[in-house]
Amino acid sequence: MLILDCPYCGVSAEETELSAGGEAHVTREGPGSADDAFESYLFMRENPQGVHFERWRHSHGCGKWFHAARCTRTLEVFGTYSAQTTEPPQGIRDAISQKRPGWSWRDLA
């Protein structure tokens, strides 16, 4: 079972109180973007066994979107953080580095 701490209402929310929102930090390419960039925005997603960054919504709670960093292999949660950011904060990256030295995800490491 996955339990995530909602950074907005402070609840430790069990998975069934949440809705999964897919991969985090995807750049939304708009009209005028290069074909390659638009294709990768539409179709290319990470599917790692290990460190992963996702969007979640506390849908049966405060209703807010937030981000989570977790391990897809063990369900270990490294942390949750605000939706109002385009990349994971340093504190989250440090927490991952402590537990998964040498991790990488897209262009993050």
Binding site: C9, A13, T16, E17, H60, C62, G63
Partner: protein, 192 residues
């Protein structure tokens, strides 16, 4: 097709079940949804003076059923008031908040409320909602939004033996049946 109700009525006519706890549909309750910037003195002053109480902290309820503010999210409150006062109160609040970034909606007719009474209510709620009902995690005065089985709901812990549960009016019968089943006399758990 249901007939148009000519006067305000509870969804289930005050349905009641006595079991491990007493489950009773609450009398008509005024409820106004308020959204805005809590950090803005204009918003905070208007809503807290309307409710005659301080702004609630995270997941807190301040006040009584007659006048209360519930913390629903970092930018959402629910104001409780007597049913008949909700419409004029919402109009007054909308007027006072005009020109600022805020939303006021009278949702009284879109909600159903239930009162759970009895010392076993933590066990009954824990059967239905993915919530830690331990007294330390859900002390009196706490507001918790969650789900009860398949529907969204809110829990207001009024004291250790009283909780007010609210949900969409359209699922009132489902909620009453859930609560009554979880409160069936032979189904005691005795965990809390």
């Amino acid at each position: 097709m249901s007939e148009l109700l000519t006067s305000p009525a509870q969804a289930l006519g005050g349905a009641r079940f006595d079991g491990l706890v007493c489950v009773e549909e609450a009398p008509l309750q005024g409820m106004i949804t308020l959204r805005g910037d809590f950090a803005s003195p204009g918003f905070a002053n208007v809503v807290s003076s309307a409710a005659a109480t301080d702004m609630p902290g995270q997941r807190e309820v301040r006040g009584t059923q007659d006048k209360a503010l519930m913390w629903m999210s970092p930018d959402e409150l629910a104001l409780l008031c007597p049913y008949a006062e909700a419409a004029p109160m919402a109009a007054k609040l909308a007027d006072m908040l005009a020109g600022s970034h805020a939303l006021v909606a009278n949702v009284s007719d879109a909600r159903a409320h239930f009162l759970l009474k009895g010392p076993g209510l933590r066990d009954v709620i824990a059967k239905l909602a993915p919530v830690d009902m331990a007294p330390g995690a859900m002390p009196p005065g706490t507001l918790r939004r969650t789900r009860f089985a398949q529907v969204a709901a809110g829990i207001w812990m009024q004291d250790d033996a009283t909780a007010q549960i609210f949900c969409f009016r359209s699922v009132a019968q489902y909620m009453f049946d859930l609560l009554s089943t979880a409160a069936a006399p032979e189904s005691a758990v005795g965990h809390f």
